[in-house]
Symmetry: C2
């Protein structure tokens, strides 16, 4: 029986447990506290920044993977040096640790992306802004950002005074996109690679609110471009496991890469119900070096909506009674304003009516708060 | 968060874990050993025949349910007397503890079943055989039988000499069936009841080998009869949780009840992939008194085949490579001749080709042994 370790005990680790059970993989989770969403599989509690603690945990694993991207590069490299199979590797993860490194690598791979440059001093700002197309443009902190945090729309130099005093920034062209897509795929160490159909992601306040799968009205040409783009990145970076590529769709139909994640991703939750193989199962297969499963869709369409704040038991019952086909995934987290605490998936034929049903379930769930 | 206990740590308890995770139910398993298929959720190891041990386990549960039918009636009644919510109740489970009690209760409910009678002495045998239609007929030990054990086809009085010396027997008419079906449904305490579509079960040597879902070519009339029959039993018995009714289909299309189970059942495994709500999720919802999920099918058809003996890792890889859409459920059990160690499900449009794919996967999995 393969033994796979996961650093981080959040909802992504939690949702790997059902997949591990079906695959008969022994899953061990290293969490910051026992009372984590993935508590059922938590076998070690500690600090993932401490090489010794993580090395102890990883000593007898077939491979080590992640629920989040915050494990320091030096910890990953020390593990690799001691013979631990880290998936994805420290080299691949370097792109998700630093957005400047990511832009640089994507440039080398010839992947379409917004114009970008790094700026480290206020004196460089004006020429830097000009090189990405002028104001307004986007500034991002190279490290530590997520869910809209560490990202700012910049209208004038004064918008960046505080941030520039803290360190260098990534400046990006503000791309006039018409829609955001996510390209989910998975890659196995030996090179086997399987993509799911592209999905549309809709954000509110910089956070994913809804996902529509598959993304509607993509042309054959766009589907080909999307697949090529995801494959180029997966192979170019040499990642192992799930790769999520967030892209902008422009008015002319072209695609431009926004962000990357090298793990199961919120935009891929819909595939648990919509595909033969969920992203959690595919990630574990890839990490454990097992053949990838079919990524075919099992229904014409699916919609995922995120739940924020808290999941109240009575509200959940109410939502189930209103929408019996709603799959409500409750991460078992305590309530907190704006916190991602679960999601709802509905699958079927017509995406418009699925969206209505998912919203009906969500409104019942959110009504209690 | 609801806390549900399960007596028994086998594959049925194991497959409740993914459902519990999505529902955010705390699942606690009482097993005979820590190293059980449901080990991830095992919180107590002991003897389920010991009232004190089971009562300790059940002390702070919202409800107690089962992976098997072997908990003695007196243990169940003692738990109920002390206020534990036992689901299904000891009264309902009495039917699965004793096949004579089951036949009696089904007779009272007016449900179609083979002619039957109880025989306790050799001197009564000939008239008893005559009352169920003569030789050949079926003899069953009232208690303890499963998977074809404790069942015998009787051609003459001498076939029963050994068994009759051990205690009374149930004699049943040997029904000339053309096909075996299983009717899966679930009932919540308050009465909410939801059936899945009937499935066809195919046995080899008294053990289920394949399940085809939905059962093909059933008329509207038969579907109505099947639903009425399952509902009559579920309500008449007052069960809580999943009810599996195994029935014979006769040449004239009529249905006759063979066996009952009041828990998730091998014949319902196909619904994990084929229905919006798996039998494990529906069982937990019913037991935890949550609204039942939709039992609609998400694809036109599905096939389940059981795996026996052992699951070899290389053979599993081979099966996945040949049939990437096969969902191979590995129960994590050690190999033993004839042991049920897993199952494979394939869903899609055409049942004939699904059966071919499932058999292809199974033959690859069995090739290694």
């Amino acid at each position: 029986m393969k033994r796979i370790g996961v650093i981080g005990g959040g909802q992504l680790a939690r949702m790997m447990i059902p997949a591990a059970i079906n695959l008969a993989i022994e899953l061990r989770v290293f969490a910051e506290q026992q009372d984590a969403p993935a508590s059922l599989a938590v076998t070690a509690v500690g600090d993932f920044r401490d090489v010794r603690q993580v090395a102890d945990f990883a000593a007898d694993l077939d491979a080590l993977t992640f629920d989040h991207e915050h494990v320091p590069a030096e910890v990953l490299r020390a593990l690799e040096d001691s013979g631990v199979v880290v998936a994805p590797s420290s080299q691949a993860l370097a792109l998700t640790h630093n957005k400047v490194v990511m832009r640089q690598r994507l440039s080398e791979l010839g992947v379409a992306q917004p114009r970008w440059c790094e700026v480290s001093e206020a004196s460089e700002l004006e020429s830097a802004v000009e090189s990405v197309g002028g104001y307004p443009c986007i500034a991002k902190k190279p490290t530590g950002g997520y869910d809209g945090k560490g990202v700012r729309v910049v209208h004038s130099a004064s918008d960046l005074e505080d941030w520039l005093s803290q360190g260098s920034l990534l400046l990006e062209e503000k791309v006039p996109f018409v829609r955001e897509l996510a390209l989910l795929s998975a890659r196995r160490r030996g090179g086997e690679w399987k993509p799911w159909a592209p999905v549309e992601t809709r954000q509110k306040n910089g956070v994913c609110s809804e996902v529509i799968a598959p993304a509607q009205s993509l042309s054959e040409t766009q589907l080909g471009v999307a697949e090529e783009l995801a494959r180029t990145i997966a192979e170019g970076v040499g990642t192992v496991g799930v790769l999520a590529v967030e892209v902008f769709e422009l008015a002319d139909g072209s695609l431009s890469v926004n962000e990357l994640a090298m793990r199961p991703h919120n935009s891929g939750h819909v595939f648990t119900e919509l595909s033969t193989t969920s992203q959690f199962e595919q990630h574990l297969r890839a990490v454990a070096d097992l053949p990838l499963g079919s990524a075919a869709l099992v229904a014409p369409g699916g919609v995922m909506v995120n739940l924020f704040g808290g999941v109240d038991a009575d509200a959940k019952n109410d939502a189930w009674e209103r929408v019996p086909e709603a799959k409500i995934h409750d991460y078992g987290k305590g309530a907190r304003e704006g916190r991602k605490v679960g999601h709802v998936v509905v699958t079927g034929d017509d995406v418009k009516s699925l969206l209505d049903k998912a919203e009906l379930a969500r409104s019942a769930l959110h009504a209690a708060r």
